[in-house]
């Protein structure tokens, strides 16, 4: 595992994408084929299911080190990563095991059905034959994320640099259904399998936030403007009587939305359509907060289907009857989409995303400002001649969101982060006033600079009330401006409200705690649709 271990060390230490790509290319040029496939599988979420429960590993580690559980947990909350905590606590290795990544993964897969005793013997054997870094990797191979900042995009760029193959094709090749056992590295990167696979999605085309004046975009008639709906981006793939729904995270979510599958299966053509999955009732789009009740459920019950009905707004068409039409101008794809929607019978909840009519750029301001009233996040501006790009490209598509809502709140809890952030208090809970007390309104993880985080960490260390455990209650003293995209009433939250995408807009060092918002002023931000 030396090669893989060295790769992980090289990847984790740098936050420069080019250095990461360099390290990956180096790995692709020296590692055995099966190891390379495992690397791709591990970094694209295709790891086999966890063969051993984490709780068991924790117990074995405590047995071996003879540490009390509270001390183990204290170590864990400092390190912020269970696999790493165990790697650091375990006694020094007694011998040297040298297996390749493929061999380890094969052994781990075979372990899944075995007894707990057999699993224990295997894990203890591995721990005693691996050094600290290899042990950490071994623990991660069993389960857990590496958290070293290698995105699919980075991986694909490295593969492209190594092989000379087009990045789009590589992205297409590595997502979707394949397994290490039935695939060779050559076949995978050359995409031999992708023609046979009905499920393959295309990489989503993503937009940057508008960063210039509308008037600098050119002529208004060269653009199509739509609402930016606030649900989850989805790609409906229909080929050879099979239907697949992919989320933007490149996960298959087909089973979660049976009403979409049912409606689509009545259509005769094959196509790939990009759109937004939304909670929708009586033609109205509901809040993301409602949609959330439908996400990541193992079973979608009849009750749930009735409570939170789903709808779909179609944005674009990428493939029609087997032909990839992503390069044709958006205006033509839009027309094709309209033709399909007009010629077929579709239920109410599957709609074409409507085009916002406007003459002059300035007309858009009022429409954008009204977005929140129809539960939209703002506007999307798309160049009429734009192709359907792979990933995020500047220039052709822009998102122009409504300005966020903001409140001033005080920090009441701080928790350490994970990965790179494990040594710092980076996750905070905020409260506003409710009568004479405070009530929690939001958790936020982002929005501060490293320097500010370091400053807050030092402050938390001095002002924390607890001494043990990962969460620190702090004196309500630090005030922050919290920005968020939307707000809804909620009975799951003690405050009675749920905020959408809360983040820290800035640290209000100038504001005393007395001046923070009250729950009443927060609730006034709710606008009925």
């Amino acid at each position: 595992m030396k090669l893989f271990s060295n790769l992980i060390s090289a990847l984790e230490i740098t936050n420069k994408t080019n250095a990461k790509i360099e390290a990956l290319v180096n790995y692709f040029s020296i590692a055995p084929d099966k190891d390379k496939l495992w690397l791709i599988a591990l970094f694209t979420g295709k790891r086999p299911s966890r063969p051993i429960k984490t709780t068991l590993m924790k117990v074995w580690c405590m047995e071996l080190t003879e540490l009390p559980e509270w001390l183990f947990l204290e170590s864990y909350s400092t390190v912020g990563d269970l696999g790493e905590t165990m790697a650091l606590l375990l006694p020094a290795p007694t011998h040297k095991l040298d297996l390749s990544l493929h061999e380890w993964m094969t052994e781990l897969k075979a372990l899944k059905p075995k007894s707990d005793e057999a699993k224990k013997a295997f894990v203890l054997g591995a721990w005693s034959g691996l050094d600290q870094q290899e042990r950490l990797i071994f623990n991660k191979l069993i389960g857990g994320s590496f958290r070293i900042g290698v995105s699919k995009k980075t991986l694909v760029n490295a593969l492209a640099k190594f092989s000379g193959i087009d990045t789009n094709q590589l992205m297409h090749s590595i997502i979707g259904n394949w397994s290490v056992e039935d695939m060779s590295f050559e076949a995978l990167i050359n995409g031999k399998h992708i023609n046979y696979d009905n499920s393959k999605p295309y990489p989503f085309c993503l937009a940057y936030a508008l960063e210039k004046d509308l008037h600098d975009l050119g002529e208004p008639q060269d653009w199509i403007v739509e609402q930016k709906w606030d649900g989850i981006r989805g790609q409906i793939v229909k080929r050879n009587n099979e239907i697949y729904i992919w989320s933007r995270g490149e996960e298959l979510v087909t089973q979660q939305f049976p009403e979409l599958v049912e409606a689509i299966s009545n259509l005769k053509d094959d196509f790939v359509i990009d759109g937004e999955i939304l909670a929708m009732k009586d033609n109205d789009v509901l809040l993301f907060n409602d949609l959330q009740k439908r996400l990541n459920r193992k079973n979608v019950t009849k009750k749930l289907l009735e409570e939170v009905p789903i709808g779909f707004y179609a944005y674009d068409i990428l493939e029609f009857n087997g032909e990839d039409i992503r390069k044709t101008p958006f205006i033509e794809r839009r027309q094709a989409l309209e033709t399909i929607f007009n010629s077929m019978f579709l239920p109410d909840y599957i709609k074409l995303s409507f085009v916002v009519a406007f003459q002059r750029w300035d007309d858009l301001n009022a429409i954008r400002n009204n977005s929140r009233a129809i539960n939209s996040e703002g506007l999307m501006l798309k160049q009429k001649n734009s192709p359907y790009h792979t990933g995020r490209k500047k220039g052709d598509w822009w998102k122009w969101k409504v300005d966020p809502l903001t409140i001033d709140a005080v920090m009441i809890y701080a928790q350490k982060g994970s990965g790179r952030r494990s040594s710092k208090y980076t996750d905070y809970t905020f409260a506003v006033k409710k009568d004479d007390a405070l009530v929690t309104v939001a958790k936020a993880y982002s929005g501060l600079t490293d320097k500010e985080i370091t400053e807050i960490t030092q402050w938390v260390n001095k002002n924390a009330i607890e001494k043990f455990g990962p969460v620190r209650t702090v004196k309500p003293e630090l005030v922050f401006e919290i920005a968020f995209e939307g707000i809804a009433l909620s009975n799951r939250h003690k405050s009675g409200v749920a905020l959408r995408f809360p983040r820290i807009a800035r640290w209000r060092k100038d504001k005393p705690v007395d001046d923070i918002d009250t729950i009443e002023t927060v609730k006034q931000l709710i606008t009925a649709p």
Binding site: P68, S75, T78, V79, L88, L136, G419, N461, K462
Partner: protein, 346 residues
């Protein structure tokens, strides 16, 4: 008054000895300060009189001013102050660092200051002292902190330098001027013909050398040095230099932070450097426990670091321990030394 109370009392100015009428590493100005070592959170400015080891003396003068009123004695030598026998014993932390032993009417208190039990190539090794009351630091008082041996560290540092050289990169090690810099010098000796040090380290080294202490040879890394001279070279600089223009001007440098905190991945990755080495001048978990046990103390006080965790654990294994709040250390990553370094850099 109990014997312990005659010897030590915890006041807002620092640890006070009522019988001897002096303070140990006080954080507010007092008349008579006995100093464990030269780091800024232990040796502070503004005391009327200082007492420290002979090896610490030039360091204190260098950092606090040539005109301070100061006396030095050797390791193991004793001075009787108002009937209290005061002596210094090696702490293995930095050059000149000592545990302070107080004895009065057969009762013994040991204050460790900062210490490291594992031997290195440069500091006088830690000596365990029997006592009744043991006041210990706890900077790395969690079982995840266990250091590699000096030999293993040496190999790691050397091989990192070799790799950098083969990639035509210079190797920059960041560690604070007092302690880490000299330790790194001892670890890196022989890796290259020339080792360059930043001026703040150079000046401190000069003070140490002037007192007759031996250090590996170095060259001064000054801002006006030709860039090409530093190609592939080894440079030691204080942490405050990270992200500085001086560092950025180097031709293709690889930068490593050297600190016990680098044991944890998150810490290594927090700052954008090329490597992090867990080189610490403090005792690791086993070192702390070993030191407490071999002191034979019936009462332990735990100061700066993981004092809550470490004292709880000591009580669980049958050693009476209490937390002691001090103004040493900082609880997180970079300590007061960094601030001092920042001042020195300017």
């Amino acid at each position: 008054m109990s014997k312990e109370n005659q010897l030590i009392k915890f006041t807002k100015k620092g640890i006070y000895c009522p019988q001897g009428d002096f303070h140990l590493d006080p954080w507010q100005p007092v008349d008579y300060a006995i100093i464990s070592h030269g780091h800024a959170d232990h040796a502070r400015w503004g005391m009327k009189r200082y007492l420290c080891t002979n090896d610490s003396l030039p360091i204190l003068k260098h950092r606090l001013g040539q005109d301070i009123k100061i006396q030095g004695i050797g390791y193991g030598e004793a001075l009787v102050i108002n009937g209290v026998r005061v002596s210094f014993h090696p702490a293995g932390h930095v050059i000149g660092s000592a545990q302070i032993r107080l004895e009065y009417k057969g009762y013994i208190v040991v204050f460790t200051g900062d210490y490291k039990t594992q031997p290195d190539f440069i500091t006088t090794p830690f000596e365990s002292i029997k006592c009744h009351t043991f006041i210990t630091e706890s900077t790395f008082g969690l079982p995840i902190y266990n250091w590699k041996s000096e030999k293993v560290l040496q190999n790691e540092l050397h091989s990192w330098v070799d790799t950098n050289k083969s990639n035509h990169r210079s190797s920059v090690f960041l560690g604070y001027s007092l302690g880490k810099a000299q330790r790194l010098l001892s670890l890196l000796e022989g890796v290259d013909d020339d080792i360059y040090v930043h001026r703040s380290i150079h000046n401190l080294n000069q003070a140490i050398l002037d007192s007759g202490f031996k250090l590996p040879k170095t060259k001064l890394w000054s801002a006006d040095l030709d860039k090409k001279v530093l190609q592939d070279k080894v440079i030691i600089a204080p942490p405050a230099l990270l992200d500085s223009r001086m560092l950025k001007r180097l031709p293709n440098p690889a930068t490593a932070i050297c600190s016990g905190w680098m044991q944890i991945r998150g810490n290594r990755r927090w700052q954008s450097v090329d490597a992090g080495f867990a080189v610490s001048d403090h005792a690791d978990w086993n070192g702390l426990i070993e030191a407490v046990k071999s002191s034979g103390a019936e009462q332990v006080y735990v100061t700066h670091g993981y004092q809550a965790v470490f004292s709880k654990y000591l009580n669980e294994i049958g050693i009476k321990a209490d937390e002691l709040v001090t103004e040493y250390g900082d609880g997180v990553l970079t300590t007061a030394e960094v601030e001092t370094d920042k001042a020195n850099v300017k």
